[in-house]
């Protein structure tokens, strides 16, 4: 046991070098927050596009969603990292992580937003219009506020997938938590076991609160929904979460 992959001395060294893991954790956290903001902005814009009555906007949203849902994030990251420099676009790894992960998950968020908007009874838009609301006013004051409540749980699930997917940065020397852990375990100590356990725990700490909040919130909506009003029975948003499997590093190699 003293020589095994989980030997005590490996853990000792890990805790000595723990600041390195924290550095990576900081990057992961920061990229996650920025990518999440980007994904939300893109998701709302393209979610609105895809429910618009203008054909061209729907088409634009469709193209965006199909491209980013049907190509692996790893491919997108490698493309930006290795191919774009040839056309003069050399982004640093932090920006690549933020942009790629944000744009990729924006496509999924837009689907959540689209489903949310569609689930609000069509009659409400017509009722609003008959009261003199413009399309945008109706969206802003009537449809979106109701949508927000029901899409929050699936959005939280998206956020969790997004956080986990920031680990693709490790493939392009991103300096994130996964990269730090890999690098630490590789260099000399070969302590993959302890390194990945600690890394898993750190991702868990980030993700678990979001997931459990989403679960509680979902229950709350369901219970409230037995009455009348928005969020009633039948307003179940197809959760897009879970369709974006966490990208396994090995799969890309």
């Amino acid at each position: 046991m003293s020589s095994g992959p989980f030997a005590l001395w490996r853990w000792g060294r890990l805790f000595k070098d723990f600041p390195g893991f924290l550095e990576g954790f900081k990057i992961t956290l920061l990229v996650s927050i920025l990518a999440l903001l980007l994904a939300l902005i893109l998701g709302i814009i393209f979610g609105l596009f895809s429910t618009s009555n203008k054909k061209i906007l729907r088409a634009i949203a469709r193209v965006y969603v199909e491209i980013f849902q049907n190509t692996p994030l790893v491919v997108q990251v490698f493309f930006v990292y290795n191919a774009l420099p040839y056309v003069g676009v050399t982004l640093d790894v932090f920006s690549i992580g933020m942009l790629c992960v944000g744009i990729y998950h924006g496509a999924y968020v837009s689907e959540v937003v689209r489903a949310g908007i569609s689930s609000i009874a069509r009659g409400q838009m017509e009722a609003a219009k008959s009261q003199g609301f413009s399309y945008l006013q109706a969206m802003r004051w009537i449809i979106l506020p109701q949508t927000l409540t029901i899409v929050l749980p699936p959005l939280a699930n998206q956020a969790v997938n997004l956080i986990k997917n920031t680990s693709v940065m490790a493939l392009v020397a991103g300096g994130d938590l996964m990269y730090r852990a890999d690098s630490w375990a590789s260099n000399g100590t070969l302590s993959y076991g302890p390194a990945y356990i600690i890394t898993g725990v750190m991702y868990f700490i980030l993700c678990f609160p979001l997931v459990s909040w989403a679960r509680r919130h979902e229950l709350r909506i369901k219970n409230r929904g037995t009455g009348s009003g928005p969020g009633g029975p039948g307003l179940v948003v197809p959760a897009k979460a879970g369709t974006t499997d966490h990208i396994h590093q090995g799969a890309a190699l």
Partner: protein
């Protein structure tokens, strides 16, 4: 009486079974358990490089493995089975070779695996069969002539490779510091060098040779000897001493020297 007969019968059967098991157990501990186990598999499973010319290269035309380390694996199979073809090759990278050995997918790693004190804590290594050094591949256009020009530059290295430590120590000695970017595979480092993500591709010289092209050059400097050994799982001590004996024999009788010149290493 009948009952007594039955009891005797059962007792005899038990004794026979116990005897077989005991004899089996005794045989197991009789000296070459690891090698017997490999014989039981019917094939020697070896982790090799598939992209290092001269050491372990999977020929794209034939699909066959070629190189010094491939020949060593065949020689070992010849010793164990009397048949050099009883080898199953698994392509490994610097990062995957350790875990593959740990989980028992392969019996041996012969894959430009540098012996270090730290790695000896995790794996068993045979005597060194080849000594290499860490080198640097740079773009001709970059105007880099040596380590002294690398201040503030980024060096691409493979995860789990010893090159990072070796080159950092060399840099510290002459007071030059640089950044590192680690990648899972060599082609990824080459891609990063081509696209200008890293300024230097640093790994063992033998491996670098496989990535040399018209736009790049290998610098004459080399650092910290890299001694390649055959690795086996820490618990397989018998296998290690068996392999070690073979390598020592082949070093003294000129077999390995012959292979080194055959592959122009």
């Amino acid at each position: 009486m009948k009952f007594a007969k039955k009891v005797v019968c059962v007792a005899l059967i038990l004794a026979a079974v116990a005897g077989t098991v005991f004899a089996g157990g005794k045989q197991e501990s009789g000296g070459s358990g690891d090698v017997d186990r490999i014989k039981g598999h019917g094939v020697l499973r070896v982790g090799v490089k598939s992209d290092v010319p001269g050491f372990g290269l999977q020929n794209p035309a034939t699909g066959l493995y070629e190189g010094l380390e491939i020949e060593l694996a065949k020689l070992i199979a010849q010793e164990i089975f009397g048949d050099p073809s009883k080898v199953a090759f698994t392509p490994v990278t610097a990062k995957t070779r350790g875990p593959l050995l740990d989980n028992g997918d392969i019996d041996l790693v012969i894959a430009t695996f540098t012996v270090t004190e730290e790695r000896k804590l995790t794996y068993n290594f045979s005597t060194t069969y080849y000594t290499d050094a860490v080198g640097m591949l740079v773009k001709k256009a970059a105007g880099i002539s040596g380590l002294k020009d690398l201040g503030g530059k980024t060096i691409g290295v493979a995860q789990s490779a010893t090159s990072r430590v070796a080159i950092k120590e060399a840099g510290d000695k002459i007071g030059v510091s640089f950044g590192f970017a680690e990648f899972a595979t060599y082609p990824e480092i080459k891609a990063a060098l081509d696209s200008g993500r890293v300024d230097v591709f640093s790994v063992d010289k033998s491996i670098l040779a496989g990535y040399l092209d018209n736009e790049t050059v290998i610098l004459p400097e080399a650092f910290s000897p890299q001694e390649y050994g055959i690795a086996s799982k820490k618990s397989n001590t018998e296998l290690t001493s068996y392999i070690d004996g073979l390598i020592k024999k082949w070093l003294s009788d000129g077999t390995i020297a012959g292979l080194v010149s055959q592959f122009k290493l």
